[in-house]
Each structure stands twice: as structure tokens, then as C-alpha cells.
């Protein structure tokens, strides 16, 4: 049903996702975690994916790079990186991609690092496997990388085990591993969630700097609208497995179209608002993805919902105000309206 009018900009799209769905078989029934998502990312740009817990951010970003356990999962649609198809492709093929063109940073570096091995060895191993470096060169390069990601006394720190480093340091090590083989596309899933604000700023600064140097394309998954506002070129808002709004970052924050996005913004406490400012909250909870409601997935919580909303799911469409501003809502805010189809 939802088909995004692909905007034919003669540009260099490194990531192209078309009608991608990811469904898990669960004991309660099938759960559609990613529901018919289409998006493109231009080379060198960063796309923020925001949404609340369980909205499908992680499953979508992992689906795009093929990093999901296939056992209880089925997928339809397509996702390509640099023209290489990811969906339905053998693990062996994907391995080549992960080592070179694609890299990932996770929220919890502790689970991604091997606890019993020195961090320098873990970086060096990736260099030896993917870049076929000699043991000696890899070791030297690993120390170089640790220096590059801002770890003080990198020679000494390369001999540390993960649990001997702080959370911020471990995330820097993860970033060193991610950039070790010179990827073109980086997926960072909540890379600073759980870190203190000053460390978060350091890590985000580091990622921005590395991106600029290497013209890296990035997906930044986060639940923090503040991080998205300051660190991304474009934003996609997810709700119940769908993209419900997508726009260039400044445009999105200036002219929200979708009531859910507005709800998220209004319920976020801000340090530039006076103390005791009453937050407007969204009542209720996101729908159960095993038994999603008919119509708009946000309808049960939406104060603007009308009959149509409960019957018919709104498609993701381009706005007449800005063709790059997409929204999925029958009654959009701020003067947005759907562009006539095929225009």
C-alpha cells in the first residue's frame, strides 16, 4: 500500500530501501517490527532514526545491513548498499561487506567486545582479517586508531581489557573498530545512551569529526530528539514499525506534520524552558505489534483522530510545502497537505 514517490534526484544514493518489512515469528503470533519502510540516504549524509522503545529502530537499521538472526524472521522488500542487495543474501556474502564498506556501533560496547581479550588485540584482529595486515602492522595501526579516537596513552590502553575501561572509553574502542577498515556507511545504534552528557558530547563530536574526514554516510539511531536535532541532516520518526514522518532535520523541527512527532517534542523536558513547565504527555502506550490496530497505528492515542483514522492507515506522502517532507497522517499539522499522487 504505502509506496513512497521516489524522488528522482540525480544524486548518489548509497542506501536504498524499498518496501522493506521484517516479521518475527513469536509464541503469540507474528510480529511485524518493520512495516513497509522505504528510504534513501545520500552519500555523506546522516539520517537520524528516532522513536520510542520498541518502535523498530534497531530492527530497521540492522535489517538494512543484514545483521539479524534469520531463524524466526522473514523479510520482504529490498535494501541495497552501494548497489549490493542485502535482503535474502547469504551470510557469507554479507561478511565481506561488514568488514569493508559497512560498520556498526552498538549501544552497549560491553556486549560487542570480547571481555577476555585485550582491546588492542581486538582491533588488530579486525585489521588482519579484513585488510590482511601483518601482525606487527596491525598492532601498530590499532594503537594509531586508539590515538585517533582520543584515548590517552594509547600504547598502554591497548593492553587493557574492556572491563578496565570506562563506558566512554569502551565506546571509543568500538568506534576505533568500526572505522578500522575504512567503511563508507556507519550504523550507530544509540551510541551514547547511558553515557554522561559530557562524555556523550565528546563521543558525538568524535563521530562527527571522523565522518567529516572520511565523508562517511551514517544512520544514527536514538530516542533523544536533542541528539537528532544537533547531529543529523535528515530525520525519520518511527512508530509501531513504520516511518510516520521524515524530513530534513531543520524542516522537521520547524514544521512538524505528524501529531505523534509533535507529541514526542512536547513531552520532552528542555533545559531552555523554565522550571516547572507543564509537559504535555501522550496518554496510553504504543500498540501491540502482534495485534496492531486497524487504520493509523497512532489513532488510539491521537487527540486529533477521526473516523477515517481508525479505518484507513495513512500512507507516507510528500508535503505540498516541501517535497522532502514526508508524513503519514490524514490530518497533518502546520498547513501540510499531501501532494497529489504522481505529481
Amino acid at each position: 500500500m504505502t509506496t513512497v514517490t521516489t524522488r528522482q534526484v540525480a544524486s548518489d544514493n548509497i542506501v536504498v530501501v524499498e518496501n522493506l518489512s521484517t516479521t518475527f515469528a513469536t509464541p503469540r503470533g507474528s510480529l511485524t517490527a518493520v512495516n513497509n519502510v522505504s528510504l534513501t540516504i545520500q552519500r555523506g549524509m546522516s539520517l537520524g532514526i528516532v522513536g520510542e522503545s520498541g518502535s523498530g529502530k534497531t530492527v530497521l537499521s540492522r535489517s538494512i545491513i543484514g545483521l539479524l538472526p534469520p531463524s524466526n524472521m522473514t523479510q520482504t522488500g529490498s535494501a541495497t548498499i552501494n548497489g549490493n542487495q542485502i535482503i535474502g543474501v547469504a551470510h557469507k556474502e554479507l561478511l565481506k561487506l561488514w568488514g569493508s564498506e559497512v560498520a556498526m556501533i552498538f549501544q552497549d560496547p560491553m556486549t560487542a567486545l570480547t571481555p577476555t581479550r585485550r582491546v588492542g588485540d581486538q582491533i588488530a584482529e579486525s585489521l588482519r582479517i579484513n585488510l590482511k595486515m601483518s601482525k606487527k602492522d596491525a598492532k601498530a595501526k590499532a594503537i594509531d586508531l586508539l590515538r585517533q579516537v582520543g584515548i590517552p596513552s594509547p600504547e598502554r590502553r591497548s593492553r587493557a581489557y574492556p572491563n578496565q575501561l570506562s563506558g566512554g572509553m569502551r565506546q571509543r574502542v568500538m568506534i576505533a573498530i568500526a572505522i578500522a577498515c575504512g567503511p563508507e556507511f556507519l550504523v550507530a545504534d544509540e551510541p551514547t545512551t547511558g553515557l554522561d552528557v559530557t562524555v556523550q558530547a565528546q563521543v558525538l563530536d568524535l563521530i562527527s569529526e571522523l565522518r567529516r574526514e572520511a565523508n562517511l554516510t551514517m544512520i544514527l539511531v536514538t530516542h533523544d530528539l536533542g541528539v537528532v536535532a544537533t547531529r543529523t541532516d535528515n530525520v525519520a520518526v518511527m512508530y509501531a514499525g513504520r516511518i510516520v514522518e521524515q524530513a530534513p532535520t531543520k524542516e522537521l523541527f520547524a514544521r512538524v506534520a505528524m501529531p505523534y512527532t509533535k507529541g514526542l517534542l512536547d513531552s520532552t523536558p528542555r533545559i531552555d524552558a523554565p522550571s516547572h513547565t507543564r509537559l504535555s504527555s501522550i496518554e496510553g502506550r504504543p500498540p501491540d505489534l502482534v495485534n496492531p490496530p486497524a487504520g493509523c497505528p497512532f489513532a488510539p492515542r491521537c487527540t486529533l483522530a477521526q473516523d477515517l483514522c481508525h479505518k484507513e492507515a495513512p500512507a507516507l506522502v510528500a508535503s505540498t510545502l516541501d517535497p522532502d517532507h514526508l508524513f503519514a497522517c490524514h490530518y497533518p499539522l502546520n498547513g501540510h497537505a499531501a501532494q497529489p499522487q504522481g505529481a
Binding site: V197, F253, A254, S267, R270, I271, D272, A273, S275, R285
Partner: protein, 330 residues
Amino acid sequence: MTAPLLSVKDLVVTYGSRKNAVQAVAGVSFEVMEGETLGLVGESGCGKSTTGRAILQLERASSGSVEFDGEELTGLTRGEMRTRRRKLQMLFQDPISSLNPRRKIKNIVAEPLIIWGEADEAKRETLVNEMLLEVGIDPALAGDRYPREFSGGQCQRISIARSLVANPKLLVCDEMVSALDVSVQAQIINLLTDLKKKHNLTLLFIAHDLAVVKNVSDRVAVMYLGRLCELGPSDDLYAHPLHPYTEALLSAAVVPDPDVQLSHTTLEGEPPSPINPPSGCRFRTRCPSAQTRCAEEVPELREVRPGHQVACHFPLSTTHVAIGESPNAQ
């Protein structure tokens, strides 16, 4: 705001012993006035939770005093403390694991009433049902169910019901909304604000999120490596921070608006280990304004603007006080 309900003076809490001793709280003093919300903010490991736990005597102070409602708590035995707990409740970050998984919701909420001797079962049931309704949980639907059947936000509501059912005076909230999604977090913050007013509660609100702390607090205390850096009225402290650490924290925070470019002075490095804290000012190893005196002399908290205290030899300049002007009496 009238008299202090809680006074913490020169509180020191030490973990471990001898060589491995860590002063997690290293001489902290503040007061919480009756009916006010004091926010306590700082980065992980700075001693916020330890301070909260020491107030409830869940950790014992090595020195210093904790006076609550006119009574010194630090010398009390566990048994004596148990009876005081009726007036002094704590709420935690992880609502699901802080509720007993094998007990029904109605029994969980009734627990404090049983402990504090509300013998009449019918009266207990009425109180529990009223309290559940107040936090937005339908007692008829939820009473006989177990915590695992509820979401994080609902479990936090149930925890609030349990903590309020015996009519306490002071709530110590430790990161109680940190694990919740923003829409649910806003629901819980609003609920807490309303209940505070209705029940005339006093709150010590501990969190690392600067925006959340500002939203709920009348005054805010900023903590670094076991000591307070600054304490003042929320709006004043966020608009005109006096301590270089407060300023650094605020400039690292993000706002959901791409057009608001907060000044961005990134603080280098991470807090040093509390095992071997820097001499003098504990922030000096990362402070952009540090001078020789900072290594030699511990800055004490002093009032430099009405109701606004700072522990720094060279506070950020303000229009009200020239640097070096003699501090007001504490």
C-alpha cells in the same frame, strides 16, 4: 517553603576500608525545605545515589549528620529506622525489579500499611484502592495481577502508590524516570508533580538528566566526585551557572531544536577516580579556570547570590558579585 524538613551536614560515606577506601560522599551539606523539591544532579559515580541511600540509612555515614523532621537519623538502629521509614520513602530507577514479582499488585501496595500496623483489613483495602486510582491504575483490573504483566511506566505508578500509601513526608527519588520513554516519562513527571501538591510532599529528586531535574525542582544541587559544586534556585542556576563544572554540564546538554545552538565547550577527559581525588578543588584537573590556589585549598560552598551557593575560588563572573568580593556568611 518554611523550615528545613531534612538537613544534611558534612556527610561523609566511605565504601571499603583502609587502602581501598573510597569516599563516595566527601563532605556534603544541604537542606531540603518542607514542601520543596531539591534536585541533585551530576554524572554517574559522583555519589548521588549514595547520598540518597545515606539519608535513609541504607548506607551508614562515616561522619556528619542527617537530621529529618527534627530528629538525628545517623545513630538510629535498624529497628528504630524501620519505624521512621513510614515518613521517609525511596523510589528507584528500575520499577519492575523493585517490585516483588511473586506478589499481587494490591498486596505490594498494602505492604507499608501492614508494616506500620494498619490492622484493619477493610481500611487497608480502601486506602490501597484509593491510592491506585490516584496513580492512574484501575484497582479492579490490576489488583490481582503481578508486576510482570505491567509496563515500566505502570510499574513506576505502582511503586509510587506503594511509597505514598502510608502518607510519608519525604520522597527520595533516585533516577525514577530515567529508564522510561519520553511520553511515559512526561506522564510520570506530571503525576509526581500533582501528587506532591496534593499530599504536601517534600522531594529529593536525584537524576543525571539536566532537563528533567530542572523541570521538577525548585532548587538544584550539582555534585562532582563526592562534593557539591553549586546549589541554587533552578532557573537562576541554569541561566547563570557560577561553577565551571555546572557550565560545562549545561553546555554539553542538547535541546530538541536545531536552531538553538547552545555554547559548546566540550569538557576534556572523564572524572578522576574517587580512590585518589585531586587535592584542593576536586574539579581542578578538568577545570578551564584552574589556578594554583585550586590545588592547595578546598573551596567551601558559600553564598554569592541570594540563595545561590558555589564551591569555587573563582566563580564565573556575574553581574551581582565581583570576583574576590568577600562571601556572604553561610
